[in-house]
């Protein structure tokens, strides 16, 4: 068994696609119309056959509630790994990405948290 897809709720698939590709640098992999929405996935440019990130519509009220409550407390919905978190932070800040937590050393890790503008906070980790 493999983890082939992981999903994230977004308010607007097109807007999310823009953010995740233009700001975070992921690459669009699948884009299939499915009725009202799309089956829309991205992959890391470094691992194009790796786990896909599915941008899933948050149309269900429970999804919106889940997003809102986690966001309010600053809790990230998922985490991405980076080579050099301080460099990444600098570049993303230059692209206008907002952080709720700047790179912070936590024992063995350094973590930071950014706002994906689609209703989620995302944590970056450098191990």
């Amino acid at each position: 068994m493999k983890i082939i897809v992981t999903s994230i709720f977004v308010q607007d698939q097109e807007k999310a696609l823009k953010f995740y590709s233009e700001k975070l640098g992921f690459v669009k992999k699948e884009d299939v119309p499915t009725g009202e929405y799309r089956w829309l996935t991205l992959v890391s440019p470094d691992e194009q056959d790796g786990t896909e990130l599915l941008l899933e519509p948050n149309a269900h009220p429970a999804a919106k509630e889940y997003q809102k409550k986690l966001f309010a407390e600053g809790i990230p919905v998922t985490m991405f790994g980076v080579e050099d978190i301080h460099e990444e932070y600098k570049q993303l800040m230059e692209k206008g990405v907002k952080f709720t937590m700047e790179p912070t050393r936590m024992g063995e890790l350094t973590i930071a948290v950014l706002d994906d503008t689609c209703g989620n906070l995302i944590q970056l980790i450098e191990k």
Binding site: K68, F71, A72, E73, G74, I75, P76, T100, M101, T104, R105, M106, G107, L109, I111, V113, L121
Partner: protein, 92 residues
């Protein structure tokens, strides 16, 4: 004022709450998530989110912290004014 004094000393009597103030004084503001991560990952405390929330209530009652809304999320801010007021009579 004397009621508030009791609340301040009660808030400061606990080492976890003092640690929370240490962490908050390092940054101007922090989300609850960041504070929790710092206590658990940086200081290796085994503490639940509920326990942290309770400590924050005690600190809030002493007016040593304030919770501010920042767009879609909330941040916790250290307010050291009550401490200054408290010590003024003794120190100056």
């Amino acid at each position: 004022m004397s009621l508030n004094k009791d609340a301040i000393f009660k808030a400061l009597a606990d080492s976890t709450r003092r640690l929370i103030l240490d962490e908050l004084s390092e940054r101007n503001e922090m989300t609850l998530y960041e504070l929790t991560a710092r206590l658990i990952m940086k200081h290796n405390l085994s503490i639940s989110r509920q326990a942290i929330a309770k400590h924050l209530t005690t600190l809030e009652n002493a007016e040593l912290i304030k919770s501010k809304k920042k767009g879609k999320y909330r941040v916790i801010v250290f307010n050291n004014q009550p401490l200054k007021n408290l010590l003024k009579g003794w120190i100056e």
